[in-house]
């Protein structure tokens, strides 16, 4: 499957994109608000200064006069040592101060001071202009007071605010980015959890997924469970079908075989006898296959919900030997039982383990010459080891891992009847019990050693 895009990456980029926008907005808002506030403060002080001047204006004999108040300029003292200019204009004539300080346009009206930022004498200045009528109401003189101050303090505050806002904005963005990374990760943990719970299953585990699922994933998990249920049903149907088919084939085969034997005895011509013998062999092979298929289906079915009974491995091995004893005797094969006197307890499915052991032991008998010896042993080491060692023909140079596959038979079988399912069954049983099947040619002498390794 080729991945297209990544939810994590998308989440991360979207979240940090939002964080970036928010940080920028924060930065701009803080700057604008703070600079307005700083400017407002300067305007207030300038207005206070200008008001102090207008308050000291006097009209003496129709002449406007002024005693410039000390506080009017001393209140403009700043840490940043701003430059200060002022001008008093009475009826269009400069009364005192700097006569080149421009009167703002539009000029102030009564009770309506004008604030303006101007460029004057090589610096940027904030100017306030206040108008105050002086003298008798009928012949009032309009006096305009201008006070100007450089904006060094303002600029310093602005720099400081910009610095702080940048710092906080960047910090916020970095924090938010880190958090979005974490959030994107944590939002996706349910995916990991469900993926994990599906991945950890054995190859044949088709039970529904029950891991904790967030609401958004419930449909997906339900769909998955649904799918698995259908798969399981279809598998079971197949197994059922095979079982049924095997049964149906076995019974008539038994009848055919009996009839063939009878016929074999009756016939005299050697070529006819030979034909019937081949027929019987084919029938044997057929019925062996059917039997093994049945067993295999049984193993598949039982591993699905594995029984965990207390079993004694020594007793199991002894039972397998007892069951196959007659077959061995037919070939004069002696089975040496190298078994501990104490029971070796194990939790597992006794029927499956028995089937596995019988298949391994059956192989040993089948592929051994007459008058040979087979050793069965149960050892308790790092793992529990149930081994069957024979002195037969060995695996030859066959690919051992392939022999475990279904219907795989070696090149060494000769006339021996078989279906290629024995080792598959033994292997499946071992795996179902979290163990494994180990097969190897004997290092010394001929024969093989096949062992079922089970965890303690």
């Amino acid at each position: 499957m080729k991945p297209r895009g990544s939810i994590r990456r998308r989440l991360f980029f979207q979240l940090s994109g939002v964080a970036a926008i928010l940080s920028l907005a924060f930065f701009l808002i803080v700057r604008v608000v703070a600079e307005r506030a700083a400017e407002g403060t300067q305007d207030d002080i300038l207005a206070a200064s200008a008001t102090a001047i207008t308050d000291s204006l006097r009209s003496e004999d129709g002449q406007v006069t002024l005693e410039l108040p000390y506080s009017a300029l001393s209140m403009l003292q700043t840490v940043h040592q701003d430059r200060v200019f002022y001008r008093v204009v009475a009826a269009g004539e400069t009364l005192t101060g700097y006569d080149d300080l421009p009167v703002p346009d539009p000029a102030p009206t009564r009770g309506q001071p004008v604030f303006e930022t101007i460029y004057y004498r090589g610096d940027s200045f904030r100017v306030v202009a206040i108008l105050r009528p002086l003298g008798p109401a009928s012949a009032a003189t309009d006096v305009v007071v201008l006070v100007a101050q450089t904006r060094l303090g303002l600029e310093a505050i602005s720099r400081q605010i910009t610095g702080v806002a940048t710092g906080v904005g960047v910090g916020f963005f970095l924090l938010a980015t880190a958090l979005s990374l974490w959030a994107a990760g944590s939002a996706l943990t349910p995916f990991d959890r469900i993926t994990g719970s599906v991945l950890r299953r054995g190859p044949k585990d088709l039970r529904p997924v029950t891991a904790d699922t967030p609401a958004e994933l419930v449909p997906l998990v339900e769909a998955l469970n649904n799918f698995m249920a259908r798969l399981r049903a279809s598998l079971l149907r197949t197994e059922d079908f095979i079982t049924e088919a095997a049964h149906r084939v076995r019974t008539p085969l038994a009848t055919v075989r009996a009839q063939a034997e009878v016929t074999h005895r009756k016939l005299n011509k050697p070529e006819h006898k030979q034909a019937i013998r081949e027929m019987i062999r084919a029938i044997d092979e057929c019925s062996r296959s059917a039997g093994q298929m049945l067993d295999h289906a049984m193993v598949t079915f039982r591993t699905d919900s594995l029984a965990r009974d207390d079993v004694d491995l020594v007793a199991l091995m002894a039972e397998a030997v007892e069951r196959l004893g007659p077959t061995a005797e037919l070939k004069d094969i002696f089975i040496r039982q190298d078994l501990p006197s104490e029971p070796v307890p194990f939790r597992g499915d006794g029927i499956l383990l028995q089937a596995a052991l019988q298949n391994v032991l059956d192989n040993a008998i089948k592929y051994s010459p007459e008058d040979s010896e087979i050793t069965v042993a149960v050892e308790v080491g790092e793992a529990l080891r149930l081994s069957v060692t024979d002195q037969g023909r060995g695996f030859g140079d066959a690919d051992l891992s392939r022999l475990i596959g279904r219907f795989e038979r070696g090149g060494n079988v000769g006339q021996v009847v078989g279906s290629g399912l024995g080792l598959t069954i033994a292997n499946d049983v071992a795996n179902a019990h979290d163990g494994r099947l180990s097969i190897a040619n004997n290092k010394e002498g001929q024969g093989v050693c096949v062992s079922l390794l089970l965890p303690r």
Partner: protein
């Protein structure tokens, strides 16, 4: 030291009337070989400043120093109105220096080596103070035996009131209409306490004599011509005390105005580098006791101010422009004349 009059200054400045600034003295300290010229305009007398110039020149070989002496208002006139070319302007008039800086006639010197200098000793990185000189009361030995001099302005008023015959015509102070220093001290006094106007009133009644300069007052007091002189430049009096006897210097206990002598680099300076070096040299004056000794200029000394809280150094700031306002000035002078010139 000269504190020439400032009276017509502001009007001249604003009307732009052409009036060439007056040079009192002009000295050239030539260096051979010469690699540069530093043009200094200063209000400090030659004998006061010469040792400092020579010491500076010793540290800067090859630099010719062209030293022009002018009164405070002429210095202002030269730079503010006539745009005369000088590399550094040294003045005792803090208010006028402040005005030069405020109006944009001074150059900024950001990395001035003002290491140990307090923050109040400079303004806008354009004005740099290097001395602190108090305004003091001089009393004549002929009138006051040691320990009997008044210690506050109140005591002085009481003393003058108690014995008018003895002091009539025997007290002196600056004619603030003619002396920039006198005007600065009087305006600061008027701000610092309301005793000032009462004192002026009393002095007016006693027919106080008015002077243009500290030197004349010191001479008059030591001669016994005056019983006391108010608001004399203390540094100058201390330097004179070694040569001419007959007077005591009294620093009042209520408050003492302390003037800062300052240097600034005019905007049109043509050798700002050398001017900056001279500023660094001047602001380090407190590390040259030998120069302080010979020049009689007391270096800026914050610990002295901490130990004697009566000392009030005049602070830089836009408020120094208040008394330079022409209306405010004429008002002040009118009040002053009303108090002092009663007869």
């Amino acid at each position: 030291m000269r504190f020439a009059f400032v009276a017509t200054l502001i009007l001249t400045m604003l009307s732009g009337a052409a009036r060439s600034f007056e040079v009192e003295d002009h000295v050239i300290y030539r260096a051979t070989p010469e690699s540069g010229v530093l043009r200094v305009i200063s209000t400090a007398d030659r004998d006061v400043f010469e040792p400092i110039i020579l010491a500076f020149q010793a540290e800067n070989p090859g630099l010719t120093v062209d030293y022009t002496i002018a009164g405070t208002s002429d210095l202002m006139q030269a730079i503010h109105v006539e745009n005369a070319v000088f590399d550094i302007a040294i003045s005792s008039a803090m208010d006028l220096q402040t005005r030069l800086a405020n109006d944009g006639f001074a150059r900024t010197y950001e990395d001035a080596d003002t290491g140990a200098m307090p923050a109040w000793a400079s303004w806008r990185n354009q004005i740099f103070a290097f001395t602190q000189e108090p305004a003091v009361l001089l009393v004549s030995d002929a009138y006051f035996s040691p320990g009997t001099a008044p210690r506050t302005r109140e005591e002085l008023i009481e003393l003058l009131r108690a014995d008018p015959e003895r002091f009539a015509g025997r007290i002196g102070t600056y004619d603030v209409r003619r002396s920039g220093f006198g005007y600065l001290m009087a305006t600061q006094d008027s701000r610092n306490s309301d005793v000032f106007w009462r004192l002026m009133e009393v002095m007016g009644r006693l027919d106080a004599k008015l002077y243009c300069c500290s030197g004349e007052m010191i001479r008059a007091v030591s001669d016994g011509e005056l019983a006391l002189a108010y608001n004399v430049l203390g540094s100058y009096a201390a330097l004179q005390q070694d040569k001419i006897k007959g007077f005591q210097i009294v620093e009042f206990e209520d408050h003492v105005n302390v003037m800062l002598r300052t240097a600034l680099i005019p905007a049109n300076s043509q050798n700002a580098g050398a001017a900056q070096r001279l500023i660094d040299f001047l602001t380090a004056l407190n590390q040259r006791p030998d120069l302080v000794e010979v020049s009689g200029l007391p270096a800026v000394n914050p610990t002295l101010l901490q130990n004697n809280t009566a000392l009030r150094p005049i602070r830089f700031g836009p408020e120094l422009l208040v008394f330079l306002d022409q209306l405010r000035r004429s008002n002040f002078l009118r009040n002053w004349e009303n108090s002092l010139l009663q007869n």
